[in-house]
Amino acid sequence: MAFGPHLLLAALEGLVTAAVLALTALGLSLVFGVMRVVNVAHGEFFMLGAVLAWAISTAISGHAALGFLAALVLAPLIVGLIALVAERLVLRRLNYNPEATIVATIGMLYIIQQLALTFYGPEARPVEPPFSYRILLPWFGYSGYKLSIIAASALLLVATWFVLTRTKIGLVMRATQYDSETAQAFGIPVDRVYAGVFALGAMLAAVAAVLIVPISQAHYLMGQDPLLLSFIVVIIGGLGSLRGTVVAAVLIGLSDGIISVFFSPTLAKIIATLLVAMVLVFRPQGLFGTASR
């Protein structure tokens, strides 16, 4: 294959990565933005989404699309519920103290991972894609499903943006983010907002995982890379900024796709992680964010 088409292929792969990454990172960013909680277990909610998608789609017989659709609806709901319980039982009791919650979410990470290993096993299992239509480009055929991931993710991002900026729920969330004490004084149930945001963040990760699982595979350790990449995206994009998160996700996804096609993936990860650490050291508000209050 010539260089041009090769680059196009890498860019398409990168866009798929970016689409999934944007959803996952948005979840992390919302939780941090509103609750000031760094959720280290975020990657495990992603993993749970994928594992549940496998469980649901194999439980439902009939056409592959049927099982997939069921997974797309049910898996995020179950993950959201688990997150809700975790939030009520642990995070709320810690008063959302940033350092204590990091330790607690590390604990959740280990618990979820180990339970997945115990009940799901160490194998990587595939989920059948809902359709397998190939789009024929002049140089190579490309999976139609992958393109639909990009579309679905874009749709979800727009929906989230709409909820955040144009609805009452979004207003309440932004008020809590801006100043939780004043919000409380104005009768906003801050406590319930936190619970909802934590569940929503986990659900976004789960949806992203359900979308990606037909082209990758469900595995109990699959949450680690998305966690690291989401951190990178959230930091580069500026914490709590939706636009920044999306821009950074596309940037990271594309460069990750292109760099790993042409260079060693380990080297790509080293460079990306180092760059992000430097951004955090020298420009803590992110490349697109505004200075923190």
């Binding site: 000031r36 760094v38 642990v90 009791r93 810690l94 940033p98 350092e99 204590a100 990091i102 330790v103 607690a104 590390i106 604990g107 959740m108 990470l109 280990y110 618990i111 991972q113 180990q114 339970l115 290993l117 115990t118 690291l228 951190f231 930091i235 060693s264 380990t266 080297l267 990860k269 080293i270 992680t273 180092l274 992000v276 650490a277 430097m278 955090l280 050291v281 020298f282 803590p284």
Partner: protein, 320 residues
């Protein structure tokens, strides 16, 4: 907190060291070996405690300092054929230099950003070890040859694979670090660190250069962790990338939280306790990470001061 009486504190610590020395002669073989390992890892926890307990800086990347010592010493023996003392010094030097560099960068941030930055630097370190797998052995790791692990003292050569020599070397390192920690904590410098933890702005206002005090703490902490790593490589003869993974940044945090942050003996108690909990439960289940996870959550929820921290608060105010 009551003013600590120096004689009592030193007597307690020397007593603990004497107890560990005595245990060497009565413990059955299995527990003897386990305790040697626990003492080396307790040094790692003490190094972590220096920063987390006394300065209040929660790092999620201390595995890099441990593995800097581990690889610094291990690779010096394997590739360069250095003697044990030289390799140990090389491990220490690697840890000190790395801690200096990381400290200069990471201390520009604070709070949550500090945790994430240290975690990312540790991740980079881990990936670098994997990337140079031809030299470092990658995730397979390397075995430090038994023939090279010999310490020559005077005219006699002591094989570090011998259980008694290994135990006594671990105890020597542990005792030195424990007494140095106690001395640091009781010194003027130790009090400045605690002042920074309690209120950095006020300490700054009182005229202390908080940045260089914190940097010194990072370097001391990193060096102690590297000493633990170097000792681990030389005493137990294995270096591997697992020791650089996130898990090994979390474990010292768990040990210190369990034993009691900002207590000199807490790291030992925490490491000892956690090691035996995992050891006992591994008879019933392989899910040891589950226990680590549950322990972390229960600790932050119900027991944030740890074992010794609670004892100090309730009964023994003089405990250092």
């Amino acid at each position: 907190m009551k003013e600590a009486s120096p004689a009592k504190a030193y007597a307690l610590h020397l007593g603990v060291i004497a107890l560990l020395f005595g245990l060497s002669f009565v413990l059955p073989e299995y527990h003897h070996g386990l305790l040697a390992r626990i003492m080396v890892l307790a040094v790692f926890a003490m190094g972590y405690n220096m920063l987390f307990g006394y300065v209040g800086l929660l790092s999620l990347g201390h595995a890099m300092f441990f593995s800097a010592g581990l690889y610094g010493a291990g690779l010096a023996v394997i590739h360069l054929g250095w003697s044990v003392p030289a390799a140990f010094a090389a491990g220490l030097a690697c840890g000190t230099l790395l801690a200096l560099a990381i400290g200069m960068l990471a201390l520009r941030t604070s709070g949550v950003a500090f945790m994430i930055v240290t975690m990312m630097f540790a991740q980079v370190f881990y990936l670098i070890i994997l990337y140079f797998a031809s030299r470092t052995g990658g995730d397979q790791g390397l075995v430090v040859p038994q023939s090279a692990r010999v310490l020559v003292v005077g005219g006699t050569s002591l094989g570090l694979t011998d259980p008694t020599v290994r135990y006594m070397s671990a105890l020597a390192l542990f005792s030195i670090v424990l007494l140095v920690t106690l001395a640091i904590v009781r010194s003027r410098y130790g009090r400045v660190l605690v002042a920074i933890r309690e209120n950095e702005e006020r300490t700054k206002m009182l005229g202390y250069d908080t940045f260089s005090n914190k940097l010194a703490a990072v370097v001391v902490s990193g060096t102690v962790c590297a000493a633990s790593g170097a000792a681990y490589a030389l005493l137990f003869g294995y270096v591997g990338s697992t020791f650089a993974s996130v898990q090994y940044s979390i474990l010292p945090l768990l040990w210190v939280l369990l034993g009691g942050a900002a207590t000199t003996l807490g790291p030992l108690i925490g490491t000892l306790f956690m090691y035996y909990v995992v050891d006992v439960t591994s008879g019933y289940t392989s899910a040891y990470l589950l226990i680590v996870g549950i322990a972390l959550i229960l600790l932050v929820l119900f027991f944030p001061r740890g074992i010794l921290g609670t004892i100090r608060q309730r009964w023994l105010g003089w405990l250092p």
